[in-house]
């Protein structure tokens, strides 16, 4: 701090600190405190604010335990609250999306970092960047067109004689979340690709050659040499894709079936349709908590630091 004052003087240092304080306090910390605070108070009409009912309560959090529904997990029928069910589905299918993007992105990241000729890399990267610049709303819409009942995918499959009846992709073939998983994977695969690519680029190619010279088959070279080196990149990609998928409101609303509920949609309903901001706050606190736990788990699992993930 003295260093800053010596270089830029008291005035400028004060300006820097004020800007940082505004960001961290007013835009980040206080809003989150506000959300935590509001989540413990009941939703009341303006006239009753400060009245006898305006007291600390856990009822907003208890709402997530209401309305049990019959469902089955892997064939076992159970009865769980509807919002818990949505929540579990969201976490499960977001993890699935994360896994699929990892499978899709890893070979490509390796190809770009170690196999492709370095001269062509900027052009190849640019080609990959183009779809990322198109907004998420439009990418989801593109898949909406492809997957609709009278859409090109069904027409193509019928034309090829693979199916004779159109498939209702949006209702799902395996689960009602199929369409959401497909489109989320499409939207976020590049968020997995670039961190892994960056991580593999820093691996010395000699290590790979040494492993091969010593007779290691290709899969063991990857398992023992490349993947351990790419770990920070993989961790960073996994965290990003999981967060984006679990937090996506756009994709599930655009392509999801009526049976597939995503947790952000539940929060949005409380917030916007029921206008019950307090319960919305409680639900987002729960959501935020799980996200934090996920980041910590990922950091433990991959043994990386926060500064490795947020790049």
């Amino acid at each position: 701090m003295e260093d800053l004052i010596r270089r830029y003087g008291t005035g400028l240092t004060a300006v820097f600190c004020l800007l940082v304080a505004f960001w961290i306090l007013v835009l980040v910390i206080l809003p989150n405190f506000s959300m935590l605070f509001e989540s413990f108070f009941p939703y009341l009409p303006v006239a009753e604010l400060g009245g006898p009912k305006d007291v600390f309560t856990l009822q907003n959090y208890e709402k997530i335990l209401a309305n049990p529904i019959e469902t089955n997990w892997f064939g076992i029928p159970i009865s769980i609250p509807v919002h818990i069910s949505t929540f579990v589905d969201t976490v499960f299918f977001s993890a699935l999306v994360t896994f699929m993007t990892l499978i899709l992105a890893y070979p490509l990241a390796y190809f770009l970092a170690k196999v492709a000729s370095p001269r062509s890399i900027p052009t190849l990267l640019l080609l990959l960047f183009i779809p990322m610049w198109v907004s998420e709303a439009l990418r989801a819409f593109a898949w909406y067109i492809i997957l609709t009942f009278n859409g090109p995918l069904n027409a193509l499959l019928k034309g090829l004689g693979i199916i004779d009846q159109g498939i209702r992709w949006q209702n799902g073939v395996f689960t009602s979340y199929d369409a959401i998983v497909i489109v989320l994977t499409y939207c976020y695969v590049l968020f997995m690709l670039f961190p892994i690519y960056t991580a593999i680029t820093s691996l010395d190619t000699n290590q790979i050659e040494a492993a091969e010279d010593l007779g290691s088959p290709w899969w063991r070279t990857h398992w023992r040499v490349v993947i351990p080196h790419a770990k920070p990149g993989i961790a960073s990609g996994c965290v990003m894709v999981f967060m984006l998928s679990a937090g996506s409101l756009l994709v599930p609303t655009v392509v999801g079936s009526t049976k597939a509920n995503w947790f952000p949609q539940t929060i949005y309903t409380w917030f916007n349709d029921a206008l019950d901001w307090n319960t919305g706050a409680a639900y987002s606190m729960i959501f935020l908590l799980v996200c934090i736990i996920f980041v910590i788990l990922a950091m433990r699992l991959f043994k990386v630091k926060l500064s490795d993930i947020a790049k």
Binding site: M1, L4, R7, Y8, G9, L12, V15, F16, C17, L19, V20, F22, W23, I24, L27, V28, P31, N32, S34, F37, P107, L108, Y110, F111, V115, A116, T123, L128, I130, W133, V134, S135, E136, A137, F141, A142, W143, I145, N150, P152, A155, L156, Y186, V239, M243, G247, L249, L250, T253, I267, Y268, F271, W277, A281, S284, F287, L288, C291, A310, K311
Partner: protein, 287 residues
Amino acid sequence: MSRNRAFLGQLYFGLFILYLLVPLIVMAGAAFNDSKLPTVAPWKGFTWAWFGELFADQTMWGAFLNSIVVALAVVALAVPIGTAAAIVLNSISGKYRATLYGFMVAPVLAPGLVIGISTVLFWNQLGQTVGANGFFLFGRGLHLATLGQVSYIAAYVMLLVLARLQSFDPGLEEAALDLGANHGQVLRRILLPHLYPAIAASAAIAFFQSIENFNVTLFTKANETTLTVYVFSQVRSGITPKINALAFLLILLTLVLALAYEMNRRRKARIEAEREAEARRAEEAML
């Protein structure tokens, strides 16, 4: 073996690019189909009609303008905040640095809807506390969307500027101070010129991140919409191919920008190569 692998890699890359581009091509193609529904499969003939309808849509133009205004406001706030944060972070070390860094990058990882909801609740509560909850600044609207977006976009700026600061030689500032420069001059003439490439890049990123933003904006906006939210509401409430016309134009814009970038990069690479060749020739001539 190695050639085989390169071929497989190229094949996979090609398939991957197809996978990324085909949905966009389908969407853009549907803009020219003379069909009430946005699709390419039953092709009913070529038409420009949807573009006409798009340009006649006042809501779209309003949303477009709002997106630009919000994005400019986000750049105007996030760039100074992020730059200041990088400078402050660079001058401290140890435990405080790690804590501060954690608070700064946390919003990047936080889900957009959490940022949106917390921003709305905070300003609403602030309005109640000061007893002016009817005042529009404390209610939902595009100004809150701007603040919500700044809270995480400033982190991108901070990361880019911080990376650039690593290559800065603080000795230059010492020299300037010793030679009698004042503090303002040190900042304006020594530090900022070094940071300009990072600041320009981060301004561009902030602008496009803001245009792209959906989650934060959806929760913080009132009646005014931005382009992304407009597309979303159109898709939700019975769509016509005019959204495809919009998509076609945006993809075209992206392609033009990408092409310009690529040509610029190649030109620079060529100049660089020529310079190196000349340097080699000069060296040989000296010997």
